[in-house]
């Protein structure tokens, strides 16, 4: 204590001016200080003490504190406090804090008010400084306080002057108190510390990236193989977040229990539905982590390749749409759910978006009021409409305020400008993807804009661009040859011509650019950066958007948009330039949506006039009548539309062939041929649509008798262009008789049609039916038994004529060769026989003996046809070089075969009717003689023919002479056919023709 006193004294002594000043202040101070002035005056010497007392008094006064019970102690404390103040302000602050807390603590502990106050009295100042509660008691305690002050001030000097034993006691008390105080202070500090620990542990230093450490580029963080593995684990879609949270809890819990999961992190991304990702060093840890978890399939896991790690944690997905003012969005919640909005602005932190909307207001018009004054709001969402100040004023005056600026209002807390609502929406209630604004929505926005210049095409373009990038949708058609201009970027304003288009990029040849060097260079530009360029007067067609299919003349160019005069409505329409293509034709499907008639309809004008609509203008139609004129008729001038069934629309062409709608026909009349597809048939007039004509949509009218069929719709399936080469394959032994038969179709109907037939083979073998359609190869048959139409190869049919079934081939053969009865039987017989015998020889069943041979030839033909066919007789054999022919077909084998198998019959046949034949041909004996030659007959047996030759003229004679035996015998030991012939045939040949015919030859 004395320390303090001395110190104070010194201090005051040293700094007199201060004291003086303070004294003066005291002079001016209110009553309490005055009260002890007399004392001050009496002890003038002890200015320090006086000063101290005054200060103390002042302090006590100023603090409005209650007087303490023990004045001495209180004063001691006072001094202490003062000193503290002087020495260390900061400390005091702290202590105050601590005391605060201590008090709080006391309160919490719940010590009674009474006891607290008592303690407070002991530590007067501290208590006084902080405890506001005491204020109320101030008045009561005031007098008491003064008394006490007088007392302790008077005491004070005594204390200083002498060490009286009684005072010692006091001192000890005070020291004790002080210690207690200190101890308690200590406690308070500790307490404060613990409290700090408990509640302010978050005040740790920020450990995140600092300027020094935070500059690590993301690239340096790229994963390496040393990093832990990331496993993708399949789970129930929609439970990903829940699972991550659960795993987090699990890890925390187990970590507390001292056996932590060895899982480093668990995460989930919205973009990867049905998976959670676990980062762990060991796969076992995953198993451990997932045991007991539901909705996750621990066995279905994939190790994510290291290179894909960054993709898993990318912050921006390619599909994300950046919200910038001007783009279209949709609202996902509330009154404007699903409404289109235009982003007007973004809040600073990007969490709120100010959107421009078409408001849905009914101004309370439809609200109902219950009898007790409650307003029931209409549940139905009002239609979107621009804000109408008039209505708002009429129906809901009180909700309306004028806002800032013209045409700006605040209605019911929302701001309206130019009729649009401007409202802040939370980011999460805004949909940015897959907006697909509809035209009617855009129109609403457009309708409000005062400029009236149409919609904000820049917006449309921006959204379109987004939608393109999202859907990968096609760009509006840039076609080679289009003139384009680059809209932005370094090369903006460059004009070029499209030379190539790929998915999203367009290659152009620069035509005009600021930099002359660029001209004629090819550059590649993204299609979004291009705009088509049109010139005034261009005839264009709209290919996208609301005005699709309109055509018109470009009358004004306006940046990205083009104004064109519609051909159809004679109105101006404004279209985005990229929606246009150059067009040569005028679109004809005008504004006739509601009309009864369409282009190409067949209509009746009056009893005798009918025609096809080829033009539809507003107010009238252009009709191509049956006589080829085009007349303009008002809709009322058309009496009716002719709706004819396909059964009714049938005619025959000049060849008598049936023609139907859809068939292609050729008109052979006038100066040039016109070809086209039949559009309508009515009363023998055909309306034909040609691809080559340009007038009247390419439609012309003609009489059915002027046309010939090119192809019929029914034939399309088997229509071949050119000859069927596969059927000409000489290696195929099967005769394509039908191929020959096809030619018969020309010039007449297939005779098979409407005939009753029986099917000879195949699945439907034995069934009967009627032929309803035919083509080259097949016939369509309506079966009698089943109500079914089947397609059957014609050759598999037999035709029933008067109850007799005739094979198709014969049926057509008969019909073809007609009256030549003699050959009738021969032809086919021969052919069939020949076919079997000679193999290839068959097909040409020409006709007649000679012809028979000729016919035969072709087949042998493969080699020798021509000779046989064309030259016939001697020359043939002579010239054609029998070698090849017979050699080719393999003389031996053929004849051998014939000999072996059925030689008899064939040659019998030939012999029977063949005498003549042979005789005739034989007339050319020389031929045989010559031709025989080594090869053919030589093969057969040199002797025979060779000798023939040698023996010359008398070929067969020589045969005979030299012993036909040998020759033919050589072929097949005399025994065989010819052997027989020979052996017995010396006679025969000799007998028959021997001497005579062959001999003659």
């Amino acid at each position: 204590m004395s320390d303090t006193g001395i110190h104070s004294a010194n201090e005051s002594g040293d700094s007199t001016p201060l004291n003086v000043k303070r004294e003066r202040e005291d002079e001016g101070s209110p009553q309490p200080s005055k009260s002890h002035k007399p004392n001050d005056v009496s002890d003038e010497d002890e200015s320090a003490d006086k000063e101290l007392a005054a200060a103390t008094a002042a302090k006590v006064e100023s603090l409005d504190s209650a007087a303490p019970a023990g004045a001495d102690e209180g004063q001691q404390e006072e001094e202490n406090e003062n000193e503290n103040e002087n020495e260390n302000d900061e400390n005091e602050d702290d202590e105050d804090d601590d005391d605060d807390e201590e008090d709080d603590d006391d309160d919490n502990v719940g010590s009674s008010k009474k006891s607290k106050r008592r303690r407070a009295n002991q530590f007067l100042d501290i208590e006084a400084e902080v405890d506001d509660e005491e204020e109320d008691e101030l008045d009561e305690d005031d007098e008491e306080a003064e008394l006490l002050r007088e007392q302790f001030i008077s005491d004070d000097p005594n204390e200083r002057e002498a060490n009286i034993p009684g005072h010692d006691d006091d001192r000890l008390h005070r020291q004790y108190d002080q210690r207690r105080q200190e101890a308690e202070d200590q406690d308070a500090e500790q307490l404060a510390e613990t409290l700090k620990q408990r509640y302010r542990k978050t005040h740790t230093v920020y450990r995140g990236d600092t300027a020094a450490s935070g500059l690590v580029s993301q690239k340096l963080l790229m994963p390496s193989i040393n990093d832990p593995a990331i496993f993708a684990i399949r789970c129930t879609p929609g439970r990903e977040k829940e699972l991550v949270r659960k795993l987090y809890e699990k890890k925390r819990t187990l970590a507390r229990l001292g056996r932590p999961l060895e899982v480093l992190s668990v995460f989930q991304r919205d973009a990867f539905k049905g998976y959670i990702y676990i980062e762990a060093k060991k796969p076992e840890a995953i198993q451990q982590a997932l045991t007991g978890m539901v909705n996750v399939y621990a066995n279905q896991r994939i190790i994510v390749p290291v290179s894909e790690y960054p993709d898993l944690l990318k912050q921006v997905k390619s599909t994300d749409v950046e919200i910038v003012p001007g783009i279209y969005v949709r609202i996902t919640r509330g009154k404007y759910k699903n409404d289109l909005a235009i982003v007007d602005n973004l809040s600073e932190n990007g969490l709120e978006v100010r959107c421009k909307l078409v408001p849905r207001l009914d101004y309370g018009k439809n609200d109902e009021t219950t009898y007790d004054g409650k307003v029931i709001k209409l549940k139905i969402r009002p239609m979107p409409n621009l804000f109408n100040e008039q209505e708002a004023r009429t129906y809901d005056q009180e909700g309306l305020q004028t806002g800032r600026g013209l045409r700006s209002y605040i209605y019911r807390g929302d701001e309206y400008q130019d009729g649009f609502l401007f409202k802040d929406f939370k980011l999460q209630y805004i949909q940015t993807k897959d907006i697909h604004p509809r035209l009617d929505e855009l129109d609403l926005f457009q309708s409000g804009s005062r400029t009236g210049d149409g919609m904000d095409l820049a917006n449309v373009a921006a959204t379109l661009k987004n939608s393109k990038t999202q859907d990968g949708g096609q760009s509006s058609a840039f076609q080679p040859g289009d003139n384009v201009e680059i809209r932005r970027g370094e090369q903006a304003k460059t004009v070029g011509k499209v030379v190539g288009v790929s998915l999203n990029e367009v290659t152009i040849v620069v035509v005009d650019a600021g930099d002359k060097q660029m001209i004629n260079r090819e550059i590649t530009v993204t299609s979004g950066d291009l705009r088509k360029v049109f010139a005034l007067g261009d005839h264009v067609k709209v290919i996208e958007g609301k005005h699709t299919d309109r055509t018109g003349l470009v009358i004004r160019l306006d940046g990205d948009s083009v104004v064109l005069l519609s051909d159809q409505t004679r109105e101006d329409i404004r279209v985005f330039a990229n929606y246009l293509i150059k067009a040569t034709d005028s679109s004809t499907s005008a504004d006739m949506v509601n009309s009864m008639y369409e282009i190409k309809d067949l209509v009746q004008l009056n009893a005798s006039t009918f025609g096809v609509i080829v033009k539809a203008e507003t107010g009238f139609y252009g009709i191509l009548t049956s006589d080829g004129r085009v007349v303009d008729v008002k809709p009322t001038g058309i009496s009716r539309k002719l709706k004819l069934s396909s059964r009714e629309q049938v005619a025959t062409d000049k060849h008598g062939l049936t023609i139907k709608v859809g068939d292609s026909v050729k008109e052979k009349g006038g100066d040039k041929k016109k070809e086209g597809t039949i559009l309508h048939i009515y009363k023998n007039i055909l309306f034909i649509e040609s691809r080559e004509l340009t007038e009247n949509l390419g439609i012309f009218a003609t009489n059915a008798l002027n046309v010939s069929t090119v192809s019929t719709k029914d034939l399309i399936m088997s229509r071949n262009l050119g000859p069927d080469l596969s059927r000409m394959n000489p290696n195929l032994k099967l005769a394509p008789i039908a191929a020959q038969a096809t030619k018969m179709r020309v010039g007449g109907r297939d005779k098979l049609i409407n005939k009753d037939v029986v099917i000879n083979s195949g699945n439907h073998k034995g069934l009967m039916g009627k032929v309803i359609e035919t083509d080259d190869v097949d016939a369509r048959i309506e079966l009698h038994t089943k109500a079914k139409k089947i397609k059957v190869n014609k050759t598999k049919l037999s035709v029933l004529i008067r109850g007799e079934s005739i094979p198709y081939l014969r049926f057509i053969g008969a019909s073809e060769t007609g009256g030549r009865g003699a050959h009738l039987s021969l032809g086919p017989a021969f052919s069939s026989g020949g076919r079997s015998v000679l193999g290839g020889a068959t097909p040409a069943v020409g006709g007649g003996a000679a012809s028979a041979w000729q016919g035969k030839t072709p087949s042998t033909s493969a080699g020798a046809t021509s000779s046989w066919g064309s030259s016939g007789g001697s020359s043939a054999w002579g010239s054609s070089g029998a070698t090849s022919t017979w050699g080719a077909t393999g003389g031996n084998s053929t004849w051998g075969a014939s000999n072996n198998s059925g030689a008899g019959s064939s040659w019998d046949a030939s012999r029977q009717g063949g005498n003549l034949a042979w005789g005739r041909t034989g007339g050319d004996s020389s031929a045989w003689g010559k031709s025989g030659r080594a090869s053919v007959w030589g093969d057969g047996k040199n002797s025979a023919w060779g000798r023939n030759n040698e023996g010359n003229n008398s070929a067969w004679g020589s045969n005979n002479k030299q012993g036909g035996n040998s020759s033919w015998g050589a072929q097949k030991d005399n025994s065989s056919g010819w052997g027989d012939n020979n052996t017995g045939n010396r006679n025969v040949w000799r007998g028959n023709g021997g001497g005579s015919s062959w001999g003659q030859q």
């Binding site: 978050t202 005040h203 740790t204 230093v205 920020y206 450990r207 995140g208 990236d209 600092t210 300027a211 020094a212 935070g214 500059l215 580029s217 993301q218 690239k219 963080l221 994963p223 990093d227 832990p228 990331i230 990903e240 977040k241 991550v244 949270r245 795993l247 987090y248 890890k251 925390r252 970590a255 932590p260 999961l261 899982v263 480093l264 992190s265 668990v266 995460f267 989930q268 991304r269 919205d270 980062e279 060093k281 790690y309 960054p310 944690l313 990318k314 912050q315 921006v316 994300d320 600073e348 932190n349 990007g350 969490l351 939370k426 980011l427 999460q428």
Partner: protein
């Protein structure tokens, strides 16, 4: 986007309920952003209700590549967001810069 009442701190990305931010602040950024008991919109300004990608991070975060990649390896265990929509107000960013703390937006706009 999350519609829960939880918010993500734009600085560290931790996900907590609004209440947690108000009562205890952000376990990582409290010393610089002072969320706790801060009534004047600090939580609204510096945390975002719109975030995507949930990452559960344990105490052994130093070893985790995921944590390093997301720059949360020095933070406490907790749930973090991969992407936090929104940016800190410029005022706060400049305050952070004064304290030598580099702010790297978590909304995907950071480039390097």
């Amino acid at each position: 986007m999350s519609s829960r009442t939880e918010r993500a701190c734009m600085l560290c990305g931790i996900i907590q309920s609004y209440r947690m931010f108000l009562e205890a602040g952000c376990p990582n950024c409290e010393s610089v952003l002072h969320y706790a008991d801060n009534e004047d919109g600090q939580i609204q300004n510096c945390t975002s209700p719109s975030y995507e990608g949930l990452v559960a991070l344990g105490d052994d975060n130093k070893a985790s590549w995921v944590a390093r990649w997301l720059r949360i390896e020095s933070f406490v265990a907790g749930l973090y967001a991969v992407k936090v929509n929104g940016k800190l107000p410029p005022q706060i960013i400049s305050d952070l810069e004064e304290q030598n703390i580099s702010y790297r937006p978590r909304d995907g706009s950071a480039q390097d």
